[in-house]
Symmetry: C2
Subunit: 325 residues, 2 copies
C-alpha cells in the first residue's frame, strides 16, 4: 500500500489527539483511502511536558528543519499555536512543496493572505478546518457543499470557555469571577484567560469564517470586539425577564451590499437555535441565499474533536495525492 509521509509540528493537546487518531484509526483510514498515513517525525519543543500519548522517541525531534526540509515529508501539520514561529514554518514548508494542514487560528487569521497566496503559488494544499469550531465541519461545508450560495449571515458561538462561563452564570446565577475561577481550577479556562474572555479568540475565528464565506479578509484587530468580562448577574437576569439569553456571538452579515461584523455579547430570543448551545459546545448558524438557515453544532475544542478535523484535512490531501500520482 502507498503511504503518505506526515510530519507533526507540535505535540501538545491537538498534536497528541492527531497522533492518537492516525494511530488508533489507521485501519479505517487505509480502508477508506487505499493509502497509509505514516507519521515520520514530530517536533516536540518541550520534552518535559506531560503528553496525551506515548510515542517512539526516535520520531521526536527538537529541530523543525527535520520536518520542513525533509524531502520525504508530503504533509506538514502545524499545531504549535501562536503566530510565530508557526507562520514562518508553514511558509517554509509550502515553499519546499509540502501540503500544509493547520489548527492555528491565531496564525491563520493574522497571516491569511500570505499563507493562502504562498500555498497557491507553490501548488500545494493549505487546509485548516480545525482552526474554527474544532471538530465541527463548518469550513469545508462553506467551501464545499454550500459553495453555490451567496452567504447572507454567519453567527457563531465560537469559544467554548466563554460559552461555559455564560452557561453557568445563566443556569446557576453565579458571578462571572466565581465561574471563571472554577473553570480555571477544572482546566476549562487558561491561567491567563484574556484571549478567550475578551473575545480575541472568537475574532480570530470570525476573521477566518469571513475570508472563506464572504471572500473578504478582515484582520482580527479590525473586528469590533467586546468580551464577557464585564457581564454581570443583573445583565443576565434582565435578559431573562425579556425572554432572552446572553451569548458571546461572532457575527458577520451583508446589509445593503456592505459586510458588517463584530464579536460581542448578544441577547438572543430563547427560541433561537443558538440558545440551546450550552457549556463548552460551539455552533455556527449560517444563512445562505439559496440554502436558507443551517446550524452546525458540536465540540469546538479538545484533543480528539480538534484532531478529528486535522485528520479530515490530512485525509482529503491524501486522496488528492492519489489522484495526482
Amino acid at each position: 500500500m502507498k503511504s503518505a509521509k506526515i510530519g507533526l509540528l507540535g505535540f501538545g493537546n491537538v498534536g497528541g489527539g492527531t497522533y492518537k487518531i492516525l494511530t488508533d484509526n489507521k485501519a479505517i483510514i487505509e480502508a477508506r483511502t487505499g493509502i497509509s498515513p505514516e507519521i515520520v517525525k514530530i517536533l516536540q519543543r518541550n520534552r518535559n511536558k506531560k503528553r496525551l500519548v506515548s510515542v517512539d522517541p526516535v520520531l521526536l525531534t527538537e529541530d523543525p528543519d527535520d520536518i520542513i526540509k525533509d524531502p520525504d515529508v508530503d504533509i506538514v501539520v502545524e499545531m504549535l499555536g501562536g503566530i510565530e514561529p508557526a507562520t514562518s514554518f508553514m511558509l517554509q514548508a509550502m515553499k519546499a512543496g509540502k501540503h500544509v494542514v493547520s489548527a492555528n487560528k491565531a496564525a491563520i487569521a493574522a497571516n491569511y493572505k500570505i499563507l493562502t497566496d504562498t500555498a497557491q503559488e507553490n501548488g500545494v494544499k493549505f487546509l485548516f478546518e480545525a482552526s474554527v469550531a474544532g471538530g465541527i465541519p463548518v469550513l469545508t461545508s462553506i467551501t464545499g457543499a454550500l459553495q453555490s450560495n451567496n452567504f447572507i449571515e454567519i453567527m457563531g458561538i465560537l469559544n467554548g470557555t466563554t460559552n461555559y462561563i455564560l452557561t453557568k452564570m445563566t443556569e446557576e446565577g453565579l458571578a462571572y469571577k466565581d465561574v471563571l475561577r472554577d473553570a480555571q481550577e477544572k482546566g476549562f479556562a487558561e491561567a491567563d484567560p484574556t484571549a478567550d474572555v475578551e473575545g480575541i479568540d472568537a475574532a480570530n475565528k470570525l476573521s477566518i469564517l469571513m475570508a472563506l464565506a464572504f471572500d473578504t479578509y478582515v484582520a482580527p484587530e479590525a473586528i469590533p470586539t467586546t468580551g464577557i468580562s464585564s457581564i454581570t448577574e443583573s445583565d443576565i437576569c434582565r435578559a431573562a425577564e425579556d425572554g432572552k439569553i446572553i451569548k458571546l456571538i461572532g457575527k458577520a452579515s451583508v446589509r445593503s451590499g456592505k459586510l458588517e461584523y463584530s464579536v460581542q455579547p448578544m441577547m438572543l430570543d430563547k427560541a433561537h437555535p443558538l440558545c440551546g448551545v450550552n457549556n463548552e459546545f460551539n455552533a455556527v448558524y449560517i444563512t445562505g441565499d439559496m440554502v436558507g438557515e443551517l446550524m452546525f453544532y458540536g465540540k469546538g475544542a479538545g484533543p480528539l474533536p480538534t484532531g478529528s478535523a486535522v485528520c479530515g484535512d490530512i485525509i482529503n490531501i491524501m486522496k488528492n495525492m492519489e489522484v495526482e500520482k
Copy 2:
C-alpha cells in the same frame, strides 16, 4: 473562461431550483472556481407542468439521449425521482464517461452498489449530497471532514412532512388526520402521503447514510420501519407527561460491533438537541469515536435548499475537472 457542460434530467422542483441557482449565482460560481457552469440541455418530460423558472425553449428536450449520449456533456444531473428510469439513465451516463450528480434518494438507496461500482469502473464522480436532508451538508461531511472517525451512532429527523405533522400535533394538540389534511391543502404533504408518513422516505435516506458512515449497505426494505400514521393525541400527551417529545427518527448505531438500525417514532427527552428541530426542518445527530457528538440542522426539502446541495456537488466536480485538465 473554461466551461463545464451540464445536462439536467428532470425539470420539476429540484430541477427548477438547480437551474435558478446556476443562473442567478453564476458570477460567484465562476469567481470561486474559474469555470463557467453552462446548462446545455434539460430533459422535461411534461411540458404542461407549471415551472419554477422560465427557460429558453431551445434548451428543452423530451429525449434523454440528447443528454446521456451527447459527447459534449460533462456532468449529468439526475432529478427525476423514482427508481426507474432514473437508475438506468444514471448508469448509461456513467458508462458514457459522464460525471453524475443525483438528488434521488429512492434510486440511490435501491441501487447503491451498482451505481457506486459503475461510477468507479468508469472513472467518473457520483455525488448525491442532496439525496439526504436536502440542503444540509451531511454526506460530504461524513465522507470528508469526519472521515477519520469510526462512527458510533447516527440519528436523524430525515423527513420534513412527518416532522411538520408531529410538530403541529405536539404544539397544538391536533389529531393526526386533521394535521395531514391541512398539510396537504398547504402543499406540505403529497396527495398520496404514504412514502412520507409510513417512513419509507426516511428509510431510503437512512440506507444512504449507513452506506457512507458505516461502509455497510442495507437495502431500505430491510430496515425495520414504522411510520407516524398510528400516533394518537394521547401518545403525545403521555410522552409530554414524562418530559418527552415524539419524533420520527432514523437511527443506526453500533452496539458490541453489530450495526443496528430502524426508522420509528421515538420518545426523546425534551433536552435532546433533536427536540428543538420543528416543522419542516431536518437534522442529523452524529456521534463519532473521535469527534464526539455533532448536529447538522437545516432545510431538508424545497427547490432552493435541495438545489444548493445539487450545485455544491456540481461545483466539486467542476473543481476536480480543473485539476484533471
